[in-house]
């Protein structure tokens, strides 16, 4: 487990490439920063694809022992199915957002470096580096550093417009994120004190149901929930995500919250012994269920499109937590289904939500406002953006065929299979509510514009195509035969067996 596997060097490149790219983009600036970002994110997608292929072909996680020091003294990078799937999702969404941003954040030749484009390209690379560190890290303190990187990158991208009103919401996000970091760090210190290591694989062997371990898990979980905005810690998310520029909102809602979720899974599925984890899981799933219902109901009542999409994130995050009691229920078949369902939900929501925020941004930019009640004419002026919104909505609702459908269906059958029918009821109810708010937007966009309204400026084709492509990926995930998702099961600890 602690040695370097064949293909392990790919993990080093997947992390070092965006780190080096970010440093060079920062030093060289201007137009060069944009070129470096596009090149590195393109290469990063190829690397993520290679890593996923290697993990799948080997049927076992890739690992790289850093500096030749074996854990617990040293650190390792590792890519199991979860990490490989999330890395590939992140690489694709980052590349799409970069292509989307070319229109607004271009630095034409001969033009001096400006604040927003320079910040955008540099922090896009910073975010790629942070996500790679969060997915590939095998040590809880190393993952803390990844969380810190993530906070700075996400915060700066959200403030890209430079509006003071946005600083206020982002400051609130920063407080939540920092309190989350402190709680996480306290937990790692306790775990080190109790077990003398922070390596996840070693902790999995050593951790028991003792007081320090349980308190550490509670603190770290609370910290990660604050970062993920799980109900009732969701208050910071809607203003922080909705007020950001569309490219940033897509990344924040689609990817940044998922990194904290991967850490939560590392803690709950790998580190914690199954018995206390199984006892705590219904509590988290209960909060997730509340998030689905409350988030969707508030989204239904929103008057602004971007806030509606942000509240939809609050709800969709809730689904992720439903997998925990199902994976930990002790039924291997249901556990495998729930595991795939949860990860597919994370991936398909990343694509769908990125598509939604990008198309909402295009609609708002063209109409000059984002009032849900006055979207009339949007469908005629920018059909591609509205179709992208609709397709992404299908995936969020869980209508076949879409990635969201497969994810929710897997969770639903796992819930029924383990006799936990109440989660199935929440999944169905959430789907109906989601249908309600997506319908409001689509129905409004497809009506004729009011006679007096000015003709909306049709947006550039490029960004519209990117939004549509993301939405199509989120749908296409539902057309992939289930057997080919075996990737995500690789390296998952099986209850009662060796990890």
């Amino acid at each position: 487990m602690s040695g370097t596997t064949p293909g392990g060097w790919l993990l080093v490149l997947a992390l070092a490439l965006p780190v080096g790219g970010m440093l060079l983009a920062f030093a060289l600036g201007g137009r060069t920063a944009e070129r470096i970002a596009l090149g590195v994110l393109g290469l990063g997608t190829v690397l993520a694809g290679m890593i996923a292929a290697e993990v799948y072909a080997a049927g076992a996680p890739l690992a790289y022992r850093l500096g030749g020091w074996a854990p617990p003294l040293g650190l390792r990078l590792q890519a199991d199915g979860l990490a490989a799937a999330m890395l590939l999702t992140a690489a694709l969404v980052l590349l799409a957002v970069a292509l989307f941003g070319r229109a607004a954040q271009a630095t034409p030749p001969g033009v001096q470096e400006a604040r927003a484009p320079f910040t955008f390209w540099t922090f896009l690379l910073a975010l790629a580096a942070s996500l790679a560190a969060a997915f590939l890290g095998g040590d809880l303190f190393n993952l803390f550093v990844a969380l810190e990187m993530l906070t700075f990158a996400a915060l700066s991208l959200a403030c890209l417009d430079g509006r003071p009103s946005q600083f206020r919401s982002e400051l609130r996000y920063l407080f939540f994120a920092l309190i989350g970091s402190v709680l996480y760090l306290l937990g790692t210190a306790l775990l080190y004190g109790a077990h003398g290591t922070l390596d996840i694989a070693l902790l999995a062997e050593r951790a028991g149901a003792d007081l320090p371990t349980l308190l550490a898990a509670a603190l770290m979980t609370a910290g990660l929930l604050a970062k993920m905005a799980l109900f009732p810690l969701h208050l910071w998310l809607p203003p922080a995500h909705a007020g950001a520029p569309p490219a940033a909102s897509a990344l924040l809602s689609g990817l940044v919250v998922k990194a904290a979720f991967v850490l939560l899974l590392r803690l709950w599925i790998w580190v914690l012994p199954p018995v206390p984890a199984g006892a705590g899981a219904p509590l988290l799933a209960g909060l997730g269920a509340a998030a689905i219902l409350v988030g969707s109901l508030i989204a239904l009542r929103q008057e602004r499109l971007k806030l509606l999409v942000a509240y939809s994130t609050v709800a969709q995050i809730g689904y992720l937590f439903l997998m925990l009691p199902l994976v930990l229920a002790g039924d291997p078949e249901a556990a495998a289904r729930a595991w795939l369902g949860g990860i597919l939900q994370a991936a398909s929501h990343a694509f769908a939500k990125a598509a939604m925020f990008l198309s909402a941004g295009l609609v708002a930019g063209a109409l000059g406002h984002d009032r849900v009640a006055e979207l009339g004419g949007a469908g005629r002026a920018m059909p591609m953006a509205v179709i992208a919104f609709g397709l992404a909505g299908l995936s969020l609702m869980g209508i076949p065929p879409s990635g969201g459908f497969t994810a929710k269906w897997l969770l639903l059958t796992a819930a029924l299979g383990t006799g936990q029918w109440w989660w199935a009821a929440v999944i169905l109810g959430g789907g109906l509510l989601t249908g309600g708010y997506v319908y409001r937007v689509l129905a409004g966009s497809l009506t004729a514009p009011p006679a007096a309204a000015p003709r909306p400026e049709p947006p550039a084709q490029g960004p519209e195509r990117v939004a549509l492509a993301l939405a199509l990926v989120s749908v296409a995930l539902g057309l992939v035969p289930l057997a080919s998702f075996g990737l995500v099961q690789i390296g998952r600890p099986i209850l009662g067996g060796a990890p």
Partner: protein, 311 residues
């Protein structure tokens, strides 16, 4: 005797924390915070963790104290907004109860920790010779857990850019922070002229001895940054424009050198971030020198803040 000192120190740490929270003004709270940091520094010394103590003094109390002080100065004139953003009594009581509960649970958990504590201190000590380093903390930072250090140094670049990116668009590329008038007489002028050369020597020394004794790039870099801030406040130097290539290179020199050394390890040694045998000590010193420069530049620019005027 030692026990009495520890009890007293613990009481003082708690007292300083309480005083900081209860302080009537922002300025008083910062003073309390710096005092708290210095007391915690003493606590680390009592625990035998001199490296941590140095870091707490330099970064926890020193650099953070200065940045908080700058924030307090910038908040002047915004009394209404500050009081609007200050949480109400109910929220404060709830937060206090929550913090107290967490503190109590932590205390119970710490008492339940195994004794003697399992740890890696012996292993870290035993293998530091392979890196040619005498200080086990340096071996952890540059060797065993090099990736943490590399990524932390990258976070500093993130932080500087994050601060810069909050500037108004038209100020991009300009000079950060306020302009201080040149002090020809008075305590500040004297301090800046007397302390500066000494501080520079101490800063470089602390960074240099880190390989063998407590100290290192973060602490040394912080002292160097403090000396620059002193010269800036005394009006002796101006912050550089953020568009300057030299500034950007100084900021990325450390992490970039570390990254390149990491790849050198892949080519010549046991893998990424491994120090090639025989070359470990000289390469580590080179990377540490670049890191000291980058840490100093980053901390100084974090204090200076976003660009405020044209270059």
């Amino acid at each position: 005797m030692g026990g009495l000192v520890d009890w007293l120190l613990a009481a003082l740490v708690l007292g300083a924390a309480a005083w900081t929270l209860a302080a009537p003004t922002g300025f008083a709270a910062v003073v309390g915070f710096v005092g708290f940091g210095l007391l915690v520094t003493l606590a680390w010394v009592r625990l035998g963790a001199v490296d941590v103590a140095l870091t707490e003094a330099a970064i926890g109390a020193g650099a953070t104290g200065v940045i908080l002080l700058m924030a307090v100065v910038r908040l002047r004139g915004g009394a209404e907004e500050v009081s609007a953003a200050t949480p109400g009594r109910a929220v404060m009581v709830a937060a206090g109860l929550l913090a107290g509960g967490v503190g109590l649970a932590l205390a119970l958990a710490v008492l339940a920790l195994p004794d003697p504590a399992p740890g890696l201190a012996a292993a870290a000590m035993a293998r530091r010779g392979e890196l040619g380093l005498g200080n086990p903390v340096a071996a952890v930072l540059m060797g065993y857990r090099g990736l943490d250090t590399l990524l932390e140094s990258v976070v500093l670049v993130f932080a500087v850019l994050a601060v810069w990116s909050m500037a108004p668009d038209r100020r991009w590329g300009g000079i950060p922070g306020p302009r201080f008038p040149r002090q020809e007489a008075g305590p500040l002028a004297l301090l800046a002229r007397l302390l500066l050369p000494i501080g520079l020597v101490i800063g470089i020394h602390v960074a240099w001895v880190g390989a063998e004794a407590p100290g290192g790039k973060f602490q040394g870099g912080t002292i160097l940054a403090a000396m620059w801030v002193l010269a800036w406040v005394a009006g002796l130097v101006q912050p550089p424009a953020i568009a300057s290539q030299a500034v950007r290179l100084a900021l990325v020199a450390g992490p970039l050198a570390f990254l390149l050394a990491g790849f050198a390890g892949m080519a010549l040694g046991e893998g990424f971030l491994a120090w090639p045998p025989g070359l470990a000590k000289p390469m580590i010193l080179l990377v540490e020198a670049a890191m000291t420069l980058s840490v100093a530049a980053a901390l100084a620019l974090l204090v200076a803040g976003p660009p405020e005027r044209a270059a």
